[in-house]
C-alpha cells in the first residue's frame, strides 16, 4: 500500500507493507536516528518521533497509521547540520555521552519547550518519562532544558555548567565541546547498524532451551532448504578451536573454555546453531526448521550447588596449561566427551570440580588479629545477578574488502577482538580490519567478544556480508552480566574501632564460561582492602562454573560487589561498638604515606606490588560530605510512616593495569598546519576522544578544532589495550600526550631551522606557531616547507605509554534515604558523590560519568535483578520486568563534586573517573537504611519486600516461598 504523510515538513508518499511498522519504514528510507533498545516493547523511547506535535514511539505504530499526519524526526531540528537550541544546549551542558538516546531526548525537550517555555523539573521529568538512558543519569538533561529555556528569551545566554580546573592550562580542565557530540546530537550515521548495506545477510542464533544438556542429534537439512538460507553453523561444522571471550591482554588470566558451538550446551540461551540468510524472515523460518534432540543434564544454578560434592561437572574435557603447572590435586584428564579447557597459566583452577579460578593470600596473622580484638562481627553479603544493559545491544557487521575481512564493531577492545577472531578463524591478524564505530553504551559488557567471531567466520567462509544484532532477550541471557557473589566478611576491632583483622571470603559465579573468572573477584578484594590498611588480612576467592547466564565485566568490575560487603560490614561493626560509622572509617582509612603491603599479594594473575600512597583525598571528601549533609545532626521525618537515615562509604578503583597495559597514539601535521590524531583508545561514549584531543591541543598550543581524531581502528590507528579497567584517560590519554610531545620536538626543530635560530631558543606558542627569540613561524608555514620538494617530510610522531605507577581514584559517597516502615520502600532523598579523578580533564563530562554511575548503581542497589526459575531460565529479560532506572528513579538531590589532585604520572595529572563511581551506592544505601530503621539488608537489590523482611515486619517464611510458590495464599 501507499502511505502519504508529512515528514520533516515535506510530503512523502511511500510504499509499505500493510503490517509494516513505522519504525521499519522510516529506517528503511534512511531515517537512521530512530534507534531501538526494547525490541518494540515501548519502554525505551529511543525510536521517538513527533507525531502531530506529540512524542510517540515509532515502534508501536504501523506505517499505515501515519496516513495524513504530520511527523518529524531529529533531522527536522538541524537544518543543514546546524543545531537547534535544544541540541546546542544538550551539547553545552555535557549531556551527550554514547549518544544513542540523544536524538529522542532532543525531541522530547523540543516538544516540551513548545508547550511550556519555562518548564519545571516535574514537567521535564514527565517529558522524559518514556525514554531510557543508561549513560547520563538523566541529570544534565534537566540542565539542558533549563538552558534552552533561557535561550528562548536570550539566544546568546550561556552559563558555567561545570567547575573548571588548572587555570594555567588553556584546554585541560576546561569545559569544551565533546568532539563527537555534534554528530551524535544530530543523529547522524555513527553506529554499527548505520553501516549495514542492503545486501547484507542476517544472522540469527538458536539458543539452548536447557541450562545443561548434550545435543544428541541435530539436523539442519530442512533449515538449509529454506529459500534464502546461505549457511548454517553448528558444532558439527564450526572451527574446532577453543578460546576465551574476554578482551583481556594476552596471555589472559581466564580459561579458553568455549568453542564457537559445542555439543554440550551450558546455559539457557547458549548457542546451538546460527543461521545466515538473505532475509530475517528466511532466517527465522530456518531457525524453526532446525531439529535438535537434547539429553538434558542436571543443571548447577548456584555456587553452593557447584561446590557440593558430586555436583554435575560443567566442563569435563581435558584441562591443559600453556605454561605452568595445574593446581595441586586438580584433575586434568578429560572424559573424551567435552571440549578441552586451556589455561594460559595457572589461576588456581580445578574445572573438574567446577572451580574456574581461585586465589588466596593476605598479610600478617588473622588468628592473632582476631585474638587481639575486643569485638568481632561476621556477615555474608549477596550481590544478585544484574545486567549491564547498554541501550545498544551487542551488534556487529562484517564484510569482505579485497582479500581482507572488515569488522564494524561496537567494542571496547578493537585489538583484542582482532586477535581473538584471528585465532578462531585461523588467519593472520593482517587479514582483519576492525573498525570501532560509535558504541551505544559499553559499561564493560563490550569488553567481551560475544558475537563478532560468528559473523566474522561466516563472512570469511562465504564472502558475503553479515549483520548480527542481539535481541534484548538475547542481550540479557546470552551476553555478559555482573558476577553474582556471596562475600563473607569477618572483622575484628578494638573498642575504639581500630581494626585488628579482616577476612574476606568471596564466592563468585562466572556462569558456564570463565572470562574474567579470576580478575573480577580479585577486584572485590584488591580495590577495597587497600582502603582499610590493617596489619592482619586474609582473603580467599573461589569462582565457580554454573549453568546460569554468563558473567563478565561491568563498570566497577568486582570492586562494586566488594565495596558493598566490606563497607557495610565496617558499618555493622561500628553499630556493634556504638560508634558513628564514619568515625570508624576515619580510624581505619588509608592515609598519605601508608605502605600497602596487601597489594603485593593481590596481583591479577601475576605478582602484585606493594605501594606507598603519595596522594589521597579521602579526608577532604569525607569532610565535605559530612558538612554538606550535616552529618551527625538528626533529621526528623514529618511523616510517621517514613524514617530518614544516612549512610556513607569510601571507595576506590585503579587507572588501568600497571605493567600489563599499553597504549599508543600517533599525530601528524597536515599541510595547512592542522593536525590529525590517531588514537588507539576506544571511546565508548565517555569522552576519551575529547581527552586525547584536549591533551594534544594543550601540548601543541592550538585550539581543539585544529585537531581531528580517529580512534580504535586497527588499520589506521596504533595498538591500544582498549577501554577497560579505567584505563582510558590514564593510558590512551598519556599516549596522545606523549605523541604530541614528540611532535612538539619536531615542530621546534623544523621551526627553528626556518627561523634560523637554535631549537633551544624556540618554543611552541598559541595559536599554532613556533616562536624563537627573533620571530615566529606558523605551523602552516612549517608544514608547507617540510612537505615541499626539499622538505624533511611530513612531521608525525608516535607516543607509547606504559607504567608501573598505580594511580588510584578515591571517592566518598553520601546518601540520605527515607524508608517507609509500612511498605519497606526506599527513596533516595540526597545522593552526594565526592570524587578525586586527579585533574578532571573534561569536567562536565566527568560529572556526567559520575551521575551515570550513581544512577546505574542505585539501580542494582534498589531495583535491578535477573531472576531465574528453577530450570535456569531468566524470566525477566526485558525492560518491563527488569527495572532499569528511568528518570523517575534519579535521587531527589543528586550532586557530584570533583576534588582535584594532580597525579604525577597521569596526563596533566588526570586519573580515571567512571568505574569508581559505581562502588558507593550499595553500601551507602544499606547503611542509610540501617540508620533509618535499624535493620541491615545484606542482599542487593534492597527491594521494598527485602527491607520489610529485614525489619521483621513480614513473616519470614515468605522469604523461602517467595518466587518459588505461585500458589495463591
Amino acid at each position: 500500500m501507499t502511505v502519504r504523510f508529512t515528514l520533516n515538513g515535506r510530503p512523502v508518499a511511500w510504499e509499505c507493507g500493510e503490517g509494516e511498522g513505522l519504525h521499519s519504514l522510516l529506517r528503511r528510507r534512511g531515517h537512521l536516528p530512530l534507534r531501538n533498545a526494547c525490541d518494540g516493547e515501548g519502554t525505551c523511547g529511543l525510536c521517538t518521533v513527533v507525531f502531530d506535535g506529540k512524542t510517540v514511539n515509532s515502534c508501536l505504530l504501523l506505517a499505515a497509521q501515519a496516513e495524513g499526519h504530520e511527523l518529524y524526526t531529529v533531522a527536522h531540528l538541524s537544518k543543514e547540520r546546524s543545531l537547534s537550541l535544544v541540541q546546542r544546549s544538550l551539547l553545552d551542558v555535557g549531556a551527550v555521552q554514547c549518544g544513542y538516546c540523544t536524538p529522542s531526548v532532543a525531541l522530547a525537550l523540543h516538544t516540551l519547550l513548545g508547550r511550556s517555555s519555562a518548564p519545571s523539573d516535574g514537567e521535564i521529568t514527565d517529558a522524559l518519562s518514556g525514554i531510557l538512558c543508561r549513560c547520563t543519569g538523566y541529570k544534565q538533561f534537566y540542565a539542558a532544558a533549563h538552558l534552552a529555556s533561557r535561550r528562548l528569551v536570550d539566544p546568546a545566554y550561556s552559563e558555567q555548567v561545570a567547575p573548571e580546573f588548572r587555570p594555567e592550562l588553556r584546554q585541560v580542565g576546561k569545559v569544551r565541546e565533546k568532539v563527537d557530540a555534534r554528530s551524535l546530537v544530530r543523529g547522524e550515521r555513527a553506529y554499527v547498524e548505520d553501516r549495514v548495506e542492503p545486501d547484507a545477510c542476517i544472522l540469527l542464533t538458536l539458543g539452548s532451551p536447557h541450562a545443561h544438556a548434550i545435543i544428541t542429534r541435530i539436523d539442519v537439512a530442512k533449515a538449509l532448504a529454506v529459500p534464502g538460507v546461505v549457511e548454517i553453523l553448528t558444532y558439527e561444522n564450526c572451527p574446532e578451536v577453543v578460546y576465551c571471550s574476554a578482551g583481556q591482554g594476552f596471555p589472559e588470566p581466564s580459561p579458553y573454555d568455549r568453542r564457537m558451538f559445542s555439543r554440550r550446551v551450558r546455559h539457557v540461551g547458549d548457542r546451538v546453531a546460527a543461521v545466515m540468510a538473505e532475509s530475517r524472515e528466511a532466517a527465522k523460518a530456518a531457525l524453526a526448521a532446525i531439529e535438535v534432540d537434547y539429553e538434558v543434564l542436571p543443571a548447577v544454578l548456584s555456587v553452593e550447588e557447584a561446590a557440593a560434592p558430586g555436583a554435575p561437572i560443567i566442563h569435563s574435557g581435558e584441562v591443559r596449561y600453556a605454561s605452568g603447572a595445574p593446581s595441586e590435586g586438580s584433575e586434568c584428564a578429560g572424559d573424551g566427551e567435552d571440549d578441552p579447557v586451556i589455561y594460559q597459566f595457572p589461576i588456581g583452577a580445578d574445572p573438574h570440580r567446577n572451580l574456574a579460578a581461585s586465589a588466596h593470600g593476605g598479610v600478617g596473622d588473622v588468628a592473632r588479629g582476631f585474638a587481639e580484638a575486643d569485638v568481632t562481627i561476621e556477615q555474608e553479603y549477596t550481590a544478585t545477578q544484574v545486567h549491564t544493559v547498554p541501550m545498544e545491544p551487542h551488534v556487529v557487521y562484517t564484510r569482505i574488502e579485497g582479500e581482507r575481512l572488515v569488522i564494524h564493531a561496537s567494542t571496547q577492545v578493537s585489538w583484542h577482538l582482532r586477535r581473538i577472531v584471528a585465532r578462531v578463524l585461523g588467519i593472520g591478524e593482517n587479514k582483519i580490519h576492525v573498525i570501532k564505530e560509535r558504541v551505544g553504551g559499553g559499561f564493560g559488557v563490550k569488553q567481551d567478544v560475544v558475537l563478532e567471531e560468528v559473523a566474522a567466520y561466516l563472512t570469511w567462509k562465504t564472502g558475503r556480508s553479515v549483520y548480527y544484532r542481539y535481541s534484548r532477550v538475547e542481550e540479557f541471557i546470552a551476553s555478559r552480566t555482573r558476577h553474582p557473589m556471596k562475600i563473607a566478611v569477618k572483622l575484628g576491632a578494638k573498642r575504639d574501632g581500630r581494626l585488628t583483622a579482616i577476612e574476606m571470603h568471596v564466592r563468585a559465579n562466572t556462569g558456564p564460561y570463565g572470562q574474567h573468572a579470576l580478575t573480577v573477584p580479585m577486584n572485590a578484594c584488591s580495590k577495597t582492602l587497600p582502603l582499610l590498611p590493617c596489619p592482619n588480612v586474609l582473603y580467599d576467592i573461589k569462582t565457580y562454573y554454573t549453568n546460569t547466564p554468563v558473567a563478565g565485566a561491568y563498570q566497577g568490575y568486582g570492586a562494586t560487589q566488594g565495596s558493598f560487603a566490606l563497607m557495610t560490614a565496617l558499618a555493622e561493626l561500628a553499630a556493634k561498638l556504638g560508634l558513628d560509622p564514619l568515625a570508624v572509617v576515619e580510624k581505619n582509612r588509608v592515609q598519605v604515606g601508608d605502605r600497602l603491603e596487601i597489594l603485593a599479594s593481590l596481583g591479577e594473575g601475576r605478582a602484585g606490588q606493594a605501594l606507598t600512597i603519595e596522594q589521597c583525598s579521602l579526608g577532604e571528601a569525607l569532610e565535605a560530605g559530612k558538612r554538606d549533609l550535616s552529618w551527625g545532626e538528626p533529621v526528623e521525618s514529618d511523616d510517621g510512616d517514613w524514617k530518614i537515615g544516612r549512610g556513607a562509604a569510601i571507595i576506590q578503583q585503579g587507572s588501568g593495569l600497571p605493567g600489563i597495559d599499553l597504549a599508543n597514539a600517533e599525530i601528524k601535521l597536515l599541510t595547512d598546519g592542522t593536525f590529525f590524531l590517531m588514537s588507539g583508545g576506544a571511546d565508548i561514549g565517555t569522552g576519551l576522544d575529547t581527552v586525547t584531543v584536549k591533551v594534544a591541543a594543550e601540548v601543541l598550543c592550538v585550539d581543539m578544532q585544529a585537531i581531528a581524531v580517529i580512534s580504535g581502528d586497527t588499520e589506521t590507528t596504533p595498538f591500544d589495550k582498549g577501554a577497560y579497567a579505567s584505563s582510558g584517560t590514564f593510558y590512551s590519554g598519556n599516549a596522545a600526550l606523549l605523541a604530541a610531545r614528540n611532535l612538539k620536538g619536531k615542530l621546534i626543530e623544523a621551526g627553528a631551522a626556518l627561523l634560523g635560530e637554535s631549537p633551544a631558543d624556540c618554543d611552541l606558542a598559541y595559536p599554532g606557531m613556533v616562536r624563537g627569540r627573533k620571530g615566529s613561524v606558523s605551523y602552516a608555514a612549517i608544514a608547507l616547507r617540510t612537505t615541499s620538494g626539499d622538505g624533511i617530510g611530513e612531521l608525525s610522531a608516535v607516543g607509547t605509554f606504559t607504567t608501573l605507577h598505580s594511580a588510584i581514584p578515591y571517592g566518598a559517597h553520601f546518601v540520605e534515604a527515607a524508608v517507609n516502615v509500612r511498605s519497606g520502600e526506599v527513596k533516595i532523598r540526597k545522593y552526594y558523590a565526592y570524587q578525586d579523578s586527579g585533574t578532571p580533564i573534561n569536567p562536565d563530562l566527568a560529572l556526567g560519568q559520575i551521575y551515570g554511575a550513581v544512577v546505574k548503581s542505585v539501580g542494582h542497589s534498589l531495583y535491578e535483578e535477573m531472576v531465574l526459575d528453577d530450570k535456569g531460565r531468566c524470566i525477566n529479560p526485558n525492560f518491563q520486568d527488569y527495572r532499569v532506572p528511568t528518570v523517575f528513579e534519579v535521587p531527589g538531590d543528586m550532586r557530584a563534586t570533583l576534588i582535584p589532585t594532580v597525579d604525577p604520572v597521569g596526563p596533566f595529572g588526570g586519573k580515571s573517573i567512571s568505574e569508581v563511581s559505581m562502588n558507593g551506592a550499595a553500601p551507602a544505601i544499606a547503611i542509610a537504611i540501617h540508620d533509618a530503621v535499624g535493620a541491615w539488608v545484606r542482599v542487593w537489590p534492597f527491594t521494598a519486600e527485602r527491607v520489610l523482611e529485614a525489619m521483621g515486619a513480614l513473616p519470614t517464611e515468605t522469604a523461602t516461598t517467595r518466587r518459588t510458590n505461585r500458589d495463591t495464599e
Binding site: G19, G42, L61, G130, Y138, K827, G892, E945, L948, R962
Partner: protein, 372 residues
C-alpha cells in the same frame, strides 16, 4: 503481526468489517496490539481512527469520555478542570450541573460547572491514567483501548469499577465496565460516569518503580454523611477477593494462562481488576475505624499470588495498606474538601526532592494526608 490494514469510513462500517474479517481487531493507538506480546499473532487491523468520540465532556450529571481520547488527553482535561475550579467549590457546585461542552471550554466559560469536572470522578481517572508513567505511551494509548485490551494490570479499570462506570458501545448496548471486563467484545464508543453528589475518591498503587506496572493498585469511591461512609466502592488490581467470588472479571495474569510458567516463577502474577464486595461491606454505613484496624480487617479478605515483583504475603499486606490509605484519604477529603483533592498525591517526605532534578517524580510517598 498485522496481515491486513482496513480503514473503514464509519464506526458502523468498522464493526461490520471486524465481524466479516478473520482475526480482525480494532486498532486505535496501537500500544497494546503492536506490542511484542501479540507480535506473533496474525491479525487484521481495523483502524478506528477518527471514527469515535475523542472529547471529554460533561452533560448534566454525566462525565463522558470518548473512547479515542488518549490517556494524556484525559490527564490534561483533568488538569484544566482543576485550574478552572477552586477545590472549595467542589461538590455543591456540581449539583448545578452544566451544559454539555468540552472541558476546556467549560473551564473558561462556566466555572461552576467546571468545578464538577475537576471533581473526584475525573481526578480518580486522571490519577489512574498517570500510573502509566510514560508520556510517549500516553500520547498514543486510548481510553477505549485501555479498557478493551483488558490487561490484568490495566490502569483505568479499577478506577472505572470504583465509579460504577458504564460503557456505550457502537450499536447502542450499554454494559457496565464490570460486565464488559467479564465478557469483552464490541466497539467502545464512550465511557460514562455518573457524577454523584458528595462523592469522594482516592487512588493508591504500589509498583517497584514509578513506571513499572502496578504490583497492587486500589481505587476507592465513597460518600460521607456525618462520620459514616456509604456507597463504598473498592476496586483493585494485583490481588483478588479471598472468597474467589469477586465480580467483574477477576483474572489471572496473561503469563499464567498460557504455557505453565517455568518453576512457578512468573514476571507478573497478579489478578485483574475487580471490586472487593466483602471489603466494601465491612465499612458500608459505618464510621471508618483507624488505619491499623482497617488493614487488619481487610487482610483476611484478600488473596494474592507470588511473582518476581513480590511474594503473595507482601502483595496482600500492601493491598490492605493501600486500600486503608485510599479509604481514609477519600473520607478525609470528603470531610474537608477545602483541604484539597482527596486523591492528590501528597506525602511531605518523598516529595522533598521535588523541584530539583529528578525529584519531580510524581509518585511521592503517600499516606500522609489523612492526618494533616
Amino acid at each position: 503481526m498485522i496481515t491486513q490494514f482496513l480503514r473503514p469510513a464509519s464506526a458502523e462500517e468498522a464493526l461490520r468489517a471486524q465481524k466479516a474479517t478473520e482475526n480482525a481487531v480494532f486498532l486505535a493507538g496501537g500500544t497494546h496490539l503492536l506490542s511484542p506480546a501479540l507480535r506473533e499473532r496474525a491479525m487484521a487491523a481495523v483502524s478506528i481512527e477518527g471514527l469515535l468520540p475523542r472529547d471529554i465532556r460533561i452533560s448534566g450529571e454525566l462525565l463522558s469520555i470518548g473512547a479515542l481520547a488518549t490517556l494524556q488527553e484525559l490527564i490534561e482535561s483533568g488538569e484544566r478542570g482543576q485550574q478552572g475550579a477552586p477545590p472549595s467549590a467542589a461538590a455543591g457546585a456540581r449539583a448545578a450541573g452544566g451544559a454539555a461542552g468540552p472541558v476546556a471550554a467549560l473551564a473558561r466559560s462556566a466555572p461552576a460547572a467546571a468545578a464538577g469536572i475537576g471533581g473526584p470522578e475525573l481526578r480518580l481517572l486522571c490519577e489512574a491514567a498517570s500510573s502509566l508513567a510514560n508520556r510517549n505511551l500516553r500520547n498514543r494509548a486510548t481510553v477505549g483501548g485501555n479498557i478493551a485490551a483488558n490487561k490484568p494490570a490495566a490502569c483505568l479499570a479499577p478506577a472505572l469499577l470504583a465509579l460504577d462506570a458504564q460503557l456505550r458501545l457502537v450499536g447502542g448496548s450499554r454494559p457496565s465496565v464490570a460486565e464488559y471486563l467479564a465478557a469483552p467484545g464490541g466497539l467502545i464508543e464512550t465511557a460514562e460516569v455518573a457524577l454523584v453528589a458528595a462523592r469522594s475518591t482516592a487512588y493508591r498503587r504500589w509498583a517497584r518503580t514509578r513506571s513499572d506496572v502496578s504490583g497492587v493498585a486500589a481505587a476507592v469511591s465513597l460518600r460521607l454523611a456525618g462520620s459514616a461512609v456509604s456507597g463504598v466502592r473498592v476496586a483493585v488490581t494485583g490481588v483478588r477477593s479471598a472468597s474467589g467470588e469477586a465480580g467483574g472479571g477477576s483474572r489471572r495474569a496473561e503469563a499464567d494462562q498460557g504455557a505453565a510458567p517455568a518453576g512457578g516463577r512468573v514476571a507478573w502474577g497478579g489478578f485483574g481488576a475487580a471490586r472487593l464486595p466483602e471489603v466494601e461491606a465491612l465499612f458500608e454505613g459505618r464510621a471508618l475505624p483507624e488505619r491499623r484496624e482497617i488493614e487488619q480487617s481487610i487482610l483476611p479478605l484478600i488473596a494474592a499470588s507470588s511473582d518476581i515483583r513480590a511474594s503473595a504475603a507482601y502483595r496482600r499486606l500492601r493491598a490492605a495498606q493501600l486500600i486503608a490509605d485510599a479509604l481514609l484519604a477519600a473520607a478525609s477529603s470528603a470531610a474537608a474538601p477545602s483541604a484539597g483533592a482527596g486523591s492528590s498525591a501528597a506525602g511531605s517526605l518523598g516529595s522533598s526532592g521535588r523541584g530539583s532534578p529528578g525529584g519531580g517524580a510524581p509518585e511521592a510517598p503517600r499516606g500522609k494526608e489523612t492526618t494533616r
